[in-house]
């Protein structure tokens, strides 16, 4: 093999390696982009940790679709005002209606001094009542099921 053939091989090798490098950059960039979009989706929807859900089973006189899920944070307040964790703008719901919190593996529900009351499994929650997944929590005239 003569030197110029060998040099031809080297030249082609150079071009091939250059394009391999570009491909490597493209692959790394797409991987990077996918990772960033996934993590930003996570970050957008997570925020504070979601420890459970309230699913509407009976929406009473409201227009809320049965089956609507609300995220429950470690400390959740349901009410009509905008400062609540879960805001439901219905007339029969007080500005701060129900307080729920999660401690030591158990949910606790207490009425926050509302007009129409909070009930856990039809028990009035004037004092703190514990609730577990599957219980029906009634806030005013809406019934939710507590799930994990």
């Amino acid at each position: 093999m003569q030197l110029d053939t060998f040099l031809l091989i080297l030249r082609i090798l150079f071009i091939v390696l250059l394009y391999l490098f570009l491909m490597q950059v493209v692959i790394a960039i797409t991987r990077d982009l996918r990772r960033t979009s996934a993590s930003s989706e996570d970050m957008d929807s997570k925020g504070p940790p979601v420890l459970g859900h309230l699913i509407v089973v009976d929406s009473g006189p409201t227009n809320i679709l049965p089956g609507t899920r609300f995220d429950l944070q470690p400390q959740t307040i349901i009410g009509r005002g905008p400062t609540n964790t879960i805001q439901i703008t219905e007339n029969f719901i007080s500005s701060e209606h129900t307080r729920l919190w999660f401690r030591n593996g158990m949910w606790y529900v207490q009425d926050a001094g509302s007009v129409n009351g909070t009930y856990v499994n039809n028990q009035p929650a004037r004092e703190v009542i514990s609730a577990k997944p599957g219980d029906i929590i009634r806030v005013g005239y809406i019934q939710f099921k507590l799930t994990a």
Partner: protein, 464 residues
């Protein structure tokens, strides 16, 4: 508690593996090309055998460059783990190719040590790049001292203005500051100072500028009080460049101005007005300055029809149009695969090591190599603009976008000039042109971009 343990054990995974992986191919490519360059010095009809292969001693410059790049990678790992992982390999490959090209072209243009000089500049540039990342602990310090930065740039440039006025005023001069054996172009630093000034000014005043103060028909222009400093800065730059006769730099500054105005205020009207003013100024320049006319004449010259040239055409091609015509011949000689590194004939093109290095690359690496080179530049631009998008405050965003625009417009202007699509200017092709100040200026740009990406990553992920 669980989150704490996750942070400390992530040390292995959070090493900059992507960057290290991206370094492998550039290192192989650079070593390969150096070997090829040394092999071309042998007799082409001989058979290659291992004894004639370049020794380690001959490959030392490239091995030195590779070592410095890996050292920079290690420094980033220790101190700035979260910076962008793509910029350094891309820029390392570009600067390595620049050193190789300088080594190759050195003997052809008469300066045998060109490669070593370029290597020295690249190493200094890398050190300055890392220094910039260390020094810019608080980017907003740059914003606070924007008028100082602008003044610094203008003063630097005025020193070369004085220098230029001493020289012959009819020929286009290059702005150069001679410090002993080294020639330094302060315009590189001036560009960065201008971008810092624009970014800081726009980030503070963008609401007022976008709002607009007075109307001309359907056009709203910003109030004079806000428009004043920015327009003044622009006109100072333009006049300086016109006197020193570096039209390419004037075009570059204007392009940066346009892109930053649009990014800062999102008003197409401003861009259109600016373009109209630029066209008007260009027309005036065309009428007044003879060498501007000459450069435009080169663009209009018909090279393809060379067999039917008149005597005047032949005269033009041998004198005024010689550089660009020879450049085009070189590009076409390269063909698709190229003549081969070290196997082309760059001696025919004047100033091939700095202004026309694009044609040298095209001749020896062909169309395919040229596309790959453009690909590398495009990736650098992509990362630069991505850093700008992800930045968390307006000043960083505008600064990153402005610096990337410098890089983009430079590459565009000189590539178009080499290919006779635009009048040829003296703008250097970033990292590939032989010239220390361009290398250092571009490394400072990369350093600032890396720092901005580091700040963004810190804010996003926390200190972990």
């Amino acid at each position: 508690m669980a989150q704490m343990t996750q942070r400390s054990s992530g040390g292995f995974r959070r090493y900059r593996w992507t960057e290290l992986g991206l370094f492998i191919l550039p290192i192989v490519i650079l070593l390969l090309e150096m070997t090829q360059l040394l092999l071309t010095k042998l007799d082409p009809a001989s058979t290659p055998d291992l004894r004639k292969f370049p020794s380690i001693q001959e490959l030392t410059p490239i091995i030195g460059l590779v070592t410095v790049l890996l050292l920079a990678h290690i420094v980033l790992n220790i101190f700035f783990r979260k910076t962008d992982q793509f910029l350094l390999p891309l820029v390392g490959l570009l600067s390595g190719l620049g050193v190789l090209m300088a080594t190759r072209l050195g003997p052809a243009v008469g300066d045998v040590n060109q490669g070593n000089k370029q290597l020295a500049w690249v190493v200094i540039g890398l050190v300055i790049c890392l220094g910039t990342i260390f020094a810019l602990r608080n980017i907003h310090w740059l914003a606070r001292y924007k008028y100082t930065a602008a003044l610094f740039g203008v003063i630097l440039f005025c020193t070369t203005l004085v220098n230029a006025l001493h020289a012959n005023l009819d020929t286009p001069t290059h702005d150069q500051l001679k410090l002993g054996p080294f020639a330094f172009q302060p315009s590189e630093l001036l560009k960065i100072c201008v971008v810092i000034f624009f970014a800081a000014y726009l980030s503070e005043n963008k609401d007022v500028l976008a709002e607009g103060g007075w109307r001309i028909g359907r056009l709203r222009l910003p109030p004079l009080r806000q428009l004043g400093p920015i327009a003044l800065m622009l006109f100072i730059s333009l006049i300086l460049f016109l006197v020193v006769r570096e039209l390419g730099l004037a075009l570059l500054i204007y392009g940066i101005f346009l892109s930053m105005i649009y990014l800062g205020t999102n008003k197409l009207a401003y861009v259109l007005v600016s373009v109209a003013v630029a066209v008007l100024l260009g027309f005036i320049g065309f009428k007044l300055l003879p060498y501007v006319r000459q450069r435009f004449a080169v663009v209009g010259f018909d090279v393809v029809n060379w067999q039917n040239w008149s005597d005047a055409d032949t005269y033009f091609a041998s004198n005024a149009g010689y550089q660009v015509v020879q450049g085009l011949i070189a590009v076409s000689s390269g063909g698709i695969l190229g003549a081969g590194f070290g196997l082309g004939h760059p001696g025919y093109v004047p100033v091939i090591q700095s202004d026309m290095v694009f044609t040298a690359f095209a001749e020896e690496f062909g169309l395919i190599g040229l596309f790959a080179l453009m690909g590398i530049y495009l990736f650098v631009l992509y990362r630069g603009f991505r850093i700008a998008i992800e930045a968390t405050d307006t000043f960083s965003k505008l600064l990153a976008a402005g610096l990337t625009s410098i890089f983009a417009i430079q590459t565009l202007i000189i590539s178009a000039g080499n290919l006779k699509l635009m009048p040829l200017t003296g703008i250097p092709l970033p990292f590939l042109s032989y010239g220390g100040s361009s290398v250092i200026g571009n490394f400072i740009i990369i350093g600032i971009l890396l720092r901005i990406s580091y700040n963004t990553a810190l804010e996003r992920d926390g200190m972990g």
